[in-house]
Amino acid sequence: MKRVYVNEKWCLGCHLCEYYCAFATSQQDDMARALKDVRISPNIRIEQHGNVCFAVSCRHCQEPLCVKGCITGALSRRDGVITIDKEKCISCYTCILSCPYGAISPSQDGAVQKCELCIKTHGGTPQCVQGCPNGAIVFEER
């Protein structure tokens, strides 16, 4: 299955992937309007320390600890993609406690949020990949 991979050698730490992600999940048409004066909470996040930087998003694990540990059944693996049913989630954060990548975070709508691969809505390429100016984020089979 194709996944999002980050080559930290090429990551500039520019945070553009975070903005593209926030735009992709905003369900709006215009990026500037969607993000203006908004404190974004993206599903891909840059980690940075000293001169090391790289982006991290959900790995869509084959043995997902978040799904196995989910107390409500809100998280599930569908066609390889770990998805969240926001209606069922009650924000207990067991998934945040379980994910070894730190790829799940709380959201403003009373559920957790995570990368669900925006390929269905965005023409086959995740927006973080599309928007990376240095080709550091790729979407491929490994």
Binding site: V52, H60, K68, T72, G102, R142
Partner: protein, 420 residues
């Protein structure tokens, strides 16, 4: 192959999903003494709070049993195992033959003998949907509720009924709230938040005697009530195994493959005791993530695989009135503490290993800044995997969990290829 599963919560569901990975055609029969399709037990407090619905509590979609070709027998109680004849004998007189049996009977509320308890007309426990519905039906806006037990169940119950009752008092023998998962400092922070939301506590105290409408505590304090909730603890349901001479400690004894001491009988989840990977001690770890993964492991082995689950650790994520508590492991060794107004980060380590942590976040709007529980799973993984701390930048990870604290080689291994 005939599989029989006794139980219908996370453990049994994990077993079904696992069996079907490896065996598409075997005959699966699942029986439950409750009349309902699988539901999330921890959600009963959210149901009373109005944060979920009966429908929202479904742990799996309605078509789960059909999709997985499970012969589902709701409302059927397993009475006895005939290990020689390899049959489960049911309370209704029926018998279910098995080749492989899973005991996933969970636990039951502990109700010790207490003086005068038989005179209390409205006494409830809080472990099942029926318990929650009975309690809800008993409450009125004038209700004065006494909850015995300030543990996870008692306090989730308190939150759940906080808008349904006039007054809620909680008594516990322990000197602090959530004594099984919090230390003194974190408990006092959480207790303050609970008190701000109207709960009253009598800690380090216990009920000496009940009259029909009041409890007299050991300290002499008299606490009037009209509705009583007993949330003292739970007891693993080990009877089916104990009755046939199977090995039982505090829970049903199982190995890392979830095999009991009786051939072809497996057990998993809250009814069992297992090894805490963070300490090596054998204990009952009645937690939903472990229950699912043990059930999954049992299911794989029942279907002829060789699966091992030896990574169980105590871990809890729980919230009350907007305060979030994330804990894992054991609280021994040196400590790192970061205190803020309404938040706490506490890590425990020794011998080059992270042993445990306590994270409490109660700041309003913490979501917008960086909450202390952000990426907590990275801490959990250090405990679960027993990662040597000298292989990473420990000072950095103490302050905030992140993959950047790992070596470049470890990062490449974690992020560079297809994940497990």
């Amino acid at each position: 192959m005939r599989y029989v599963l006794i139980g219908n919560s996370a453990t049994a569901i994990g077993a079904v999903e696992s069996i079907r990975r490896y065996d598409a055609t075997g005959d699966i029969t699942l029986l439950s003494d409750e009349p309902y399709a699988t539901y999330s037990r921890p959600l009963i407090s959210y149901l009373l709070l109005g944060k979920t619905t009966r429908q929202g509590m479904a742990y799996r979609p309605e078509h789960f049993y059909a999709d997985n070709r499970v012969h589902f027998l709701p409302g059927k109680r397993a009475e006895r195992i005939d290990a020689q004849g390899k049959r489960v004998l049911c309370a209704d007189g029926g018998a279910l033959p098995y080749d492989r049996l899973l005991v996933a009977t969970g636990s039951s509320p502990l109700v010790p003998p207490m003086q005068g308890l038989d005179r209390v007309a409205r006494a409830y426990t809080f472990a099942s949907l029926d318990d929650a519905l009975a309690l809800q039906a008993a409450l009125t806006p004038q209700s004065r509720v006494l909850i015995v037990g300030a543990g996870l169940i008692g306090l989730k119950c308190a939150e759940g009924i906080s808008r349904l009752a006039a007054d809620i008092a909680v008594v516990d023998l322990a000197p602090r709230v959530l004594s099984s998962i919090l230390d003194e400092e974190s408990a006092s922070l959480v207790q303050r938040k609970l008190e701000e939301n109207g709960l009253r506590f009598y800690l380090g105290d216990s009920v000496q005697t009940f009259s029909p409408d009041a409890a007299t505590l050991r300290s002499g304090t008299v606490v009037p009530f009209d509705t009583l909730v007993l949330a003292i603890g739970v007891r693993p349901n080990t009877g089916l195994l104990a009755d046939i001479g199977g090995k039982v400690g505090r829970g049903i004894a199982v190995d890392a493959r979830m095999r009991t001491s009786v051939p072809d009988i497996y057990a998993a989840g809250d009814c069992t005791e297992s090894v805490d990977a963070s300490t090596g001690e054998t204990k009952v770890m009645a937690l939903l993530p472990n229950a699912y993964m043990q059930g999954e492991c049992a299911g794989a082995n029942m279907a002829g695989q060789d699966a091992v689950f030896d990574k169980g650790i105590p871990m809890n994520a729980i919230g009350f009135f907007g305060t979030h508590i994330l804990t894992a492991g054991s609280y021994r060794g040196d400590t790192y503490v970061e205190r803020g107004e309404g938040c706490l980060r506490k890590l425990f380590y020794s011998d080059n290993r992270l042993n445990g942590f306590i994270l409490v976040e109660s700041r309003a709007g913490a979501r917008a800044v960086r909450p202390v529980y952000d990426k907590a799973g990275i801490y959990t993984s250090l405990i679960r995997e027993g990662t040597p701390l000298d292989t990473l930048d420990f000072d950095l990870i103490l302050q905030a969990p992140g993959l950047v604290a790992f070596s470049r080689a470890d990062r490449l291994q974690k992020l560079g290829g297809a994940p497990h």
